[in-house]
Structure formats: structure tokens, C-alpha cells
Amino acid sequence: MKLLGGEFELMKSFVERNCGIHLEPGKEYLVETRLTDLALELGCRSFLEFHAAAQADVTGKLKGRIVDAMTTNETYFFRDDNFWTYMKEVAVPELLRKAASGPVRVWSAASSTGQEAYSVAMLVDETARAMGQAHLAASVEILGTDISSAALFLAISGRYDSLAIRRGLSDERRRRHFREDGSIWAISDELKSRVRFRRFNLMDPMAGLGPFDLVLCRYVAIYFQEEFKRDLFYRMGQVLRPGCALVLGATETMRGLSEEFDPLLHKNCTVYVRKTSR
């Protein structure tokens, strides 16, 4: 679908505001190639109609899909609504229940610049407060690892520019969990203290990392060969406590790759629970 007069400016402004991607004039092809499928899927006959649909999206779901399409393989806060519904309704309440009897641990296995790990910290904090047991949040230790030390440097800083902070994060959460420092948003010291980052190559032995009560390995395995995926899931199973979940990206599956886990479907999110007996 072609962009007509004025439509590029509309989409440019929308994408900048919601994806943090700056589009120069001349980048019309990016909008056309990455968003046409979605626009047609919604029955839009023009980008003007698509823009109106996106603006009217109060649930945020369409915005999420536009962000997905524009930022391939990118990280942002609270990526994938279905996964975060599972986290909010199942995983985090369970982690906090266990935290009442001692520390629990979550692993964000490819944390990149920190958005996933900090999203977990935000949700844990919010849920603990809603339960009237805010102190329990401090017993949920979150570990973020990545192979890129440059990404980790940025994750550890917990600082995001005004475009990055908008990707996936509501105004309310931004105000609640970040402080403004000039044009930058910095994660609160309290949440920062609950997340640790360290460099780790997923090909290395994991013995020193675990055990964990939840492992997030989203949009990582898609880049690996099948043989390595088998090995990776096996080793992750070794550092995951029995009955606890390993979560992959929405487009990924463990089918045919491991006997160590049972799939569990919560609404539209499939997670993989480590079997209790082997």
C-alpha cells in the first residue's frame, strides 16, 4: 500500500511517539514495507484509515503490533501483552507467595539494555503493593544477563532517553518508577537495587547461575540451530526449580526439542513448566 500526500507525516509522528524510531523524509518505504500487512489485515484502505485506527486503539494492542513491526528484534518495556498478562495473573503472584518464605530468583536470559528485567521489577513492586505486602518485592531477585557488555553497560545505568522510555511504558508507570533527569529518565534506586546484571554467554555452563524460580528466554532461541536449542533448554531445565516455568517468545516453541518441560497455556500465552520428576 502506498503512502499518499500527508500520510507519511502522520505515520512518522505516530511511529516516533510510540516506537522511538525517528523517520526522516525519504523513509516512506519503511512505513510501506513494514506496516502495509497490518493495515490490510485491519481492513484499512489507506494509511490515513490505519492511522485513525491506531489513534483510536485504547487497549494499546495495535500500538504494540506497530511497535513490533517497526522495531524488529528490538527490546522494549512490557513487550507482548499476552506474556505480561501471564506474569501479572500467574507468575508474579506465585513468586511473591514463595517470597514470603525466602528469596526467589528470576532470570532474564538475554536482557539487552534492561527493559525486560526492569519491567519484571516494576510488576513485582506493583503487585506486592497491591497485596499490601510491599516488603516482599525486595525478596524477588532479578538477574539480567547478556553477551553484549555494551548493552549491559546501558542496562546497569538504568537510563533511557525520551523516545526509548515511551516504548511499551505507560505514562503512569514512567512517573511511578522513573525520575526525570533533564531529557533522560532514570529507573528508581529502589527498583535498580533489585536487579543485577552480569555478562553471560548462553553457550557457557550455567551451574553458577541458578537455581531460578522463573526463566525468561524470549526471542533468543530463534537465532539458534535446533541442536543448540535442545542443549540450551536442557541446561536451562537444570537451573530451574521443578514446577517452575521457562518462557519463550510468542513466536517460539519448545515442541520436539525437550522432554524436560510440560507446556502450560494461560489465556494466549504458552509457558513451559519443568517437570517435577525425571
Partner: protein
């Protein structure tokens, strides 16, 4: 930490400057290669140069060739910020000594990871 951003697009320079605030870098801006050279003469060495390819008056390749021949500036790492359409000139820039390249459009994380690597800010991460 001083970074020179050379791009003929005001909006790109503005966006880059904001992104660099994350790591507390001081950003100097130039609209083309000639302005970039003048700025280097005026401010002295910088720690990193972010360079667009297609610009009026002096393009990225000519700027790069000039800088790499000057003993005062030749060791400054250069990251090319360019579009896929300028792939040929991007390859030439790497051959001329540019350290890295990044395809436009890019997110702040994509740019900052390259900048952190080029400046070796992540040297202490274990």
C-alpha cells in the same frame, strides 16, 4: 566525553544529541564535512565522530579521508550513520577506516550500544 555528530539533517542531529544524553556525552553538531573539520579545529580532539554519508559541500567519505590523513585526528573512532541506499559508500567508509556503521533509521539502544563499544565504556563489565 566529547562526541561530534555530523549530519545535514537537523532532526537527526537533534535526536542523536538527546540519545547521547543517556551516557552523559557532550555533543557537538555539524551540518556537513566542512563544518565538521572547522569544528574539530576549533574544539580540539573529540572522543568519537558520528558521520552521515550524503551531505552538501563535503560528503562523509571526503571528510573521513581528510580526518584519517591528519595525525591530529586519525585515531578518533568514527561510526557511520547511513541508509541502506548508501550501502556502497558505507562499504567504502569502512575500508577508509570507519570503525562501525549503523543503518538509519535506528533506535537509541542501537546507537548507544555502538557508541559504548567504540568508546570502550564497557571495559569493566564482567
Amino acid at each position: 566525553m566529547k562526541i561530534l555528530s555530523i549530519d545535514d539533517s537537523n532532526s537527526i542531529r537533534h535526536a542523536v544529541k538527546k540519545m547521547l544524553d543517556v551516557i552523559g556525552a557532550e555533543c557537538f553538531e555539524a551540518g556537513d564535512g566542512l563544518e565538521g573539520l572547522a569544528l574539530l579545529e576549533r574544539t580540539g580532539p573529540v572522543d568519537l565522530i558520528l558521520l552521515d554519508m550524503e551531505m552538501p559541500r563535503m560528503d562523509g567519505i571526503t571528510f573521513l579521508e581528510t580526518v584519517k590523513k591528519d595525525p591530529r585526528w586519525k585515531d578518533i573512532p568514527v561510526i557511520i550513520l547511513s541508509s541502506i541506499a548508501q550501502r556502497e559508500s558505507m562499504i567504502k567508509a569502512i575500508q577508509e577506516g570507519a570503525k562501525q556503521y549503523l543503518t538509519k533509521p535506528f533506535t537509541s539502544e542501537q546507537l548507544l550500544v555502538k557508541v559504548v563499544e567504540a568508546l570502550n565504556l564497557d571495559g569493566d563489565i564482567l
